[in-house]
Point group: C2
Chain length 159, copies 2
C-alpha cells in the first residue's frame, strides 16, 4: 500500500520538556497545556468550544525506532506494541482525551495533558461518550497494573 | 513543520463497500469485519487478545478534499471540521473503538465496525477505560442530536 503523508495543523505546548518524568497517560495528569493551531486551520475550530473534552491525535516526534515487542512502563514482561501504548510504534501516532478549558483565537487551553512540549498536532475531534467509550470487560495484561498509572512516569526508554 | 509519513500496517475488511449507506459511528453498528495485519507486523499483536476492545486508527482513503467548515450528517448547520467527525479533514485520520472477538494468525475479527472495506490501517492500541473514557458533561451541537446516530447513514457527501 502507498505511504500516507500528513501535515501538522498545530503544535502542542506543555510543561513536559523531556520524556523523562512525564506522566504516561492523561488520566495521570492534572497538568495544563496549550494547543496552538496554525492560522490557516482556525476556521475549523468553529463550535468546538461546546465540548467539555476533545480527542487529540499527534505525532510522537521524540520516539525512537519502532520495536514490535517491548517492555511497557507498568510491567516487567515484554508485550506486543499493539497491546501497549508506548510511543515507539510502527506509525507513531499518539491519542489523548483531554479537558478543553477554553479557546482564545488560535489557542486551546486544555487540562489533563500527558504530551511532550513541541509535539506536532495532526487532528482534533470532539469527544462524544456515546461514540468513544466502551464497557470494556477485559483489559489484558493491564488488569492488575492499571492502578499504577498515577505513579508511573516516563523513564526515557522509548525516546 | 515537516510533513509526517506513515506506512499502513494492515487493511480493514468490512461489509461496507461504498460510503453511501454505511453507519457513521461504531456505536451505530453491530457489523462484523476483519483486520488483516501485514505479516511483518504480526509479532506486535502479542498479548492483544486479552483486551475486549481495541482502538483502530486508519486513513480515510475515500474522503474528498478537506474543508474547514462543513455540514455534518446529523445536523442542518455547518460546523468546524474539528468539532465534527467527518472524514474530509486536514489530516484524514479515522478513530474507532471496536470489540475484538478473536485473533487468528494475522487476522483480527472485530464487531461494531463503521469503516469502509479496503481502508488502510495505521495503528492499533488497547482500549483502556481508565485512560480513554471521560465524564464529558458537554457535547456541544450534538447534545440534542446524538440519539440520531443509530439511524443516520453516510450519504456520500464526504467522498
Amino acid at each position: 500500500m502507498n505511504d500516507i503523508t500528513y501535515k501538522p495543523v498545530g503544535i502542542i505546548h506543555s510543561p513536559f520538556k523531556e520524556p523523562e518524568g512525564a506522566p504516561i497517560q492523561p488520566s495521570a495528569s492534572q497538568a495544563r497545556g496549550t494547543i496552538e493551531i496554525f492560522p490557516e486551520f482556525v476556521p475549523g475550530l468553529k463550535d468546538l468550544d461546546g465540548f467539555s473534552h476533545i480527542i487529540l491525535l499527534y505525532h510522537f516526534h521524540r520516539s525512537r525506532k519502532p520495536e514490535l515487542v517491548v517492555r511497557p512502563f507498568m510491567d516487567t514482561e515484554s508485550r506486543g506494541i499493539f497491546a501497549i501504548r508506548a510511543p515507539s510504534r510502527p506509525n507513531s501516532i499518539g491519542f489523548s482525551v483531554v479537558r478543553l478549558l477554553r479557546i482564545e483565537g488560535n489557542i486551546l487551553h486544555v487540562e489533563g495533558i500527558d504530551i511532550l512540549d513541541g509535539t506536532p498536532l495532526l487532528d482534533i475531534k470532539p469527544y462524544v461518550p456515546k461514540f468513544d467509550s466502551a464497557e470494556a470487560e477485559r483489559i489484558g495484561w493491564l488488569e492488575d497494573k492499571v492502578g499504577k498509572v498515577e505513579s508511573a512516569r516516563d523513564d526515557g526508554r522509548f525516546s
